[in-house]
Subunit: 447 residues, 2 copies
Amino acid sequence: MAQKPSIPKGTRDFGPAETAARNYIFDTIRSVFRTYGYSQIETPAMENLSTLLGKYGEEGDKLLFRILNSGDAFANVDNTRPLTPQVCEKGLRYDLTVPFARFVVQHQNDICFPFRRYQIQPVWRADRPQKGRYREFYQCDADVIGSTSQLNELELVQIVDTVFRKFGVRVCIKINNRKVLTGLAEICGFPDKVVDITVAIDKIDKIGMEAVEEEMISKGLTPEAVKIIEPVLTLKGSAAEKIAAMRPIMGSSETGMKGLDELEELFGFIEAAGIVNEVEIDLSLARGLNYYTGAIFEVKALDFQIGSICGGGRYDNLTGIFGLPGMSGVGISFGADRIYDVLSGLGKFPAEVKSSTKILFANMGEAAYLIPVISALRSRGLACELYTDKTKLKKQFDYAERKGIPFISINGSDEVAQGIVNIKNLESGEQKSFAKDDADGILAFVS
Amino acid sequence: MAQKPSIPKGTRDFGPAETAARNYIFDTIRSVFRTYGYSQIETPAMENLSTLLGKYGEEGDKLLFRILNSGDAFANVDNTRPLTPQVCEKGLRYDLTVPFARFVVQHQNDICFPFRRYQIQPVWRADRPQKGRYREFYQCDADVIGSTSQLNELELVQIVDTVFRKFGVRVCIKINNRKVLTGLAEICGFPDKVVDITVAIDKIDKIGMEAVEEEMISKGLTPEAVKIIEPVLTLKGSAAEKIAAMRPIMGSSETGMKGLDELEELFGFIEAAGIVNEVEIDLSLARGLNYYTGAIFEVKALDFQIGSICGGGRYDNLTGIFGLPGMSGVGISFGADRIYDVLSGLGKFPAEVKSSTKILFANMGEAAYLIPVISALRSRGLACELYTDKTKLKKQFDYAERKGIPFISINGSDEVAQGIVNIKNLESGEQKSFAKDDADGILAFVS
């Protein structure tokens, strides 16, 4: 009975301070999505396993949380066959992308395309829990589906730029294009070595040109192939300069040229939009190489050491798996847990996030006198608390201090007789008296 | 491959319009909670089954969704014993109250009491799906724990009153007290018949006094016992009058008198607070009779036929099941699905809920010209969309219409040459031109 209760490993409780901070993150992102016309949707936590299985690779299938069928799940099982598929038909959402694809196909007749949707919901993965990796965590995704225009990529870059400006966090937005990587692999004659080439490019700053070339050869490229790619590895300068330098090399690959065209168009828009944060071409971005077909995004914080805090890209056949081909989409996903760590590490959470209650009205037994005063303040949007128990003032002060409430109001029979209310700033010590119906005066004093 | 995808029975997708409407409900409730100093918390979707089992009765245990252990759940099972407990250690949250009790006990050293918390999260129940009953639905609970003052009950009544005033929905807030019901059962000599007596009281308006008395006798009460309760069944008048009429009858029950004291104190506060909606004593409220120990609340919409849309009460030993005795709490729960039906049935959703995008900028191939114009509007909080594909104007108009976007902006090379932007009100037909950097002018025109 009295065993200390606990929660499943890899899951978390969020107390008041953490929830307020997380809400600040989600509300900020949501407010930016909204100004771009993205609409929120929500899908069920449970999906049919037929929807989820086979979408995340063999490893992903193992990480799905399965729900035992309700009723007597084992009533008619055949013990000679594997039991899991016989007793589980549903699983918990593993990401937001597959449910989104399922949603689009299922509701295609009700959807107005191009469809801009965002979704902020938890996902569940039976990963081995470790520092910074959880079995339940929120994803925060924005995708647009049904348009191939690079203006969509631009909007996602603008969204990222605006969100992090609102957070007061300087970031670098790195952009790659899968078609350019495909082109590089094509022009050197190893179209199946896209990943190896990308990984090698990623190492150039750490291990130097010679070691990178050796690595590519160890992966099966010929010295001649490496020679062709070499100029790309050391590209410097602006996006326009990098694109210009790649064009002559890429000449023979149609896909590669298409990729350069896309990058050029996107960076043209980016210049027109006046993005404040750094935006650069980074050919080493290998994120999601298995499914992205065009742009690839990744966002890094400049002043805080942590992995990427946002990422995404374009996928040309998102809904094909559910029978709706030819739908191109592009999207980004904000990493709420890491953004939390960045804001917290840089001290960027606004003060209001810590405590929303502005005034604690102490209880000296005059509650009925104070109730209308407090109501008037609340109706003006001010968060106030009345200490509900008539108890020692020391205890009530402690409560205000622990909750970080900045003002206290202490009123006894004298104040009631005079028809006034005292408000004290707990930090500065300044105290003022107000007529009991002067809600506007009190509001001004504490704002 | 191309099977039409679906979701598990009893679950729902929420598209843009529904999600926006639901957010309006949650945001409104949340904004009121906040002004009363309630803090939000979140708990994991999965709880250990040891936390959940035995808390909802035998029926409830059957309705828990259980999660198959990850890894090879069946590797070491003993086939001679029931399999379910061997292969499932976790279950999905069934309500928010048990996780809240678990949270309070687990984090008691970090919590500042009295602890006012709210929680808005989905819960899952393997109920048979039917109209209006789902296997996944949101609960929206506010509770305060660690204070026995009736001021807490008052605050919950104020919260309910404020929330439904914000919704523009007239409600009746019905209040009962478990101690009064206990008292009635005691004074007539049948302390174990609380439920039967309450159910009988509930029927008085429908079947009349005689039938109610017969029913009580059929449940085992004596005619003498019924005679004692009779005056209570026909109580009329204000709360104060009802309480006054009950006092002489209740004299011999200490618990009953305590209940009347609580009601009297609460209604005194309610009068001081100037509650706008109807508030009345309703002795027939039997909701949660198994666990409530003091106040019982229920809220009914006055202008729409539907079950209760909000309810709650006080429970004196919420955390005792987890080893922390002596913690009294009182709380309410808003029924988001029913409130949705009421607002929708009465047409009370604000127009802004339907579409947040104010202006669609058509794409005539002049995107780079429009991007800074649109950015300036978005930075002022206005939701705008640029149609990302350069396509037939008809298609772009259709898009604006389907999404309910009220303004369209169509600009070709002439407008670019003149440095202007046209904005047209799609409803009135009124059109105006603005200098391309006159974001404030455009904002005023569309607001």
